[in-house]
Symmetry: C2
Subunit: 301 residues, 2 copies
Amino acid sequence: MTPFNMQAWSQAHLHTIEQALQHWVTPHAPAGLGDAMRYAVLDGGKRLRPLLVMASMEACTDQPAAWTLDAALRAACAMELIHAYSLVHDDMPCMDNDVLRRGKPTVHVQFGQAQALLAGDALQTLAFELLTPEDSDIPARVQARLCGLLSRAAGHAGMAGGQAIDLASVGQRLSADELRQMHRHKTGALLEASVVMGAVAAQASHATVQHLLRYGRALGVAFQVVDDILDVTADVADLGKTVGKDAANDKPTYVSLMGLEGARAEASRLAQEAQNALRDSGLSPAPALEAVADWVLQRQN
Amino acid sequence: MTPFNMQAWSQAHLHTIEQALQHWVTPHAPAGLGDAMRYAVLDGGKRLRPLLVMASMEACTDQPAAWTLDAALRAACAMELIHAYSLVHDDMPCMDNDVLRRGKPTVHVQFGQAQALLAGDALQTLAFELLTPEDSDIPARVQARLCGLLSRAAGHAGMAGGQAIDLASVGQRLSADELRQMHRHKTGALLEASVVMGAVAAQASHATVQHLLRYGRALGVAFQVVDDILDVTADVADLGKTVGKDAANDKPTYVSLMGLEGARAEASRLAQEAQNALRDSGLSPAPALEAVADWVLQRQN
């Protein structure tokens, strides 16, 4: 058997995902809205969430039906649109007031605040549009389930709720549990849902989904811990966004709570937990999901 | 046959809708987010869109199944959440900068801009959550169709696109066609979708949906024409929001384009067109839909 080549795997999938986003994030939205939406989404980002959707789908089925591939690609792109919208709104002056993202001026700097607000709103809506194509072979039960999963991950009990906790936590001392709770909402919910949506596109069993949830949960926290580490160790050229921002804003982080070494140990422990969940799932081999866990731990940006 | 009593009809439905919104817009969203979401939605608003959903559902079926009633109520509330989110974001300083809405301070005045931004975002997400209940008797094909309709009405090709056109139109001279085009996106898309979603919950035929679309389209434009009339004729106590705002912002309106009398004649013509569409639909009687068209024309706020 040919050994798994993560670089080739992710390049092939990234190509497909970029093409799909180019196609689906329409330039025809009126009055410059399409330009702002495309600016926010295209040519940038690690596409971690879409890659997770695809890796999870592939782990759950050897021979995906054509509609499964379509559903997974739509779920992958929908997830990226939700992520992109949250960044656009998060960067706005009334939130984090960031001027740099992925090495480019943020959307509100480029297009003005009103257009940025609208573009974020329309990107969220477009995510649900992608999941409910007209005249499609994707079974309605899969479409409805994907919408349900995405809305629960993105909304008040997931990402948006985490943003609210984040907002309220500035200048507060949080315990490790509280910090984990915040990030489980803020970034974890989307990462977990990415894994689950890929599995649902592949019609995985309930038991399999539970193991993948455990993987996604550990990965989600690991991702955030590494984010906090990079916020103090990376330089702006690597990260493509403002560094040292959390400390400057007096936001609690894993590094401020555990120190740099403690945070590194926590990230390793969580990556191992993600690998254990995969092993326990009986999905074997799931090389792309394993490789994503490694990458999250080792990433430099 | 007892004559139709619009007041009794709308009071009964408003009671059900308010209770459902009270239940579904959770106070448990973290860190004050739930408070801001509830403030934006509860105890206010004409609930025109939810009432349209219910009226349309009833026009399409005499004896709705339990799941049809559930689907229509969810669609009604989802529609109101989309409407509410758009108002929250529209009122923000970077958009219309309004401080008064439904006689109360706007959400950003009450809770701050960051929380208003998040509350709007989370209200949009919650709309799709409502349409995809877990463990429900609503067929998946209806859930998926409702999500598809709502996303297409709310997004770049509908409401959000209309907002972008509105933004770009400040200080511009628009033709009557361009103005109608803007409003067909901005307010018309949601009103049309309200009617269609009610029909879909009732499993109406394609032909019926087409007639209802024509009704919804005429009603949507009529609603906006009346809005423009009220912006210059109503006083703040009736309207519950700042008056004369459009003229002050140099925004094109039907009144600035056609004069007050011209706009009144246009509103009457459109209300008649809505009634004609109902007559042509063969849905007879559809007293609540007829009454809504009358009300739109005669409303004072």
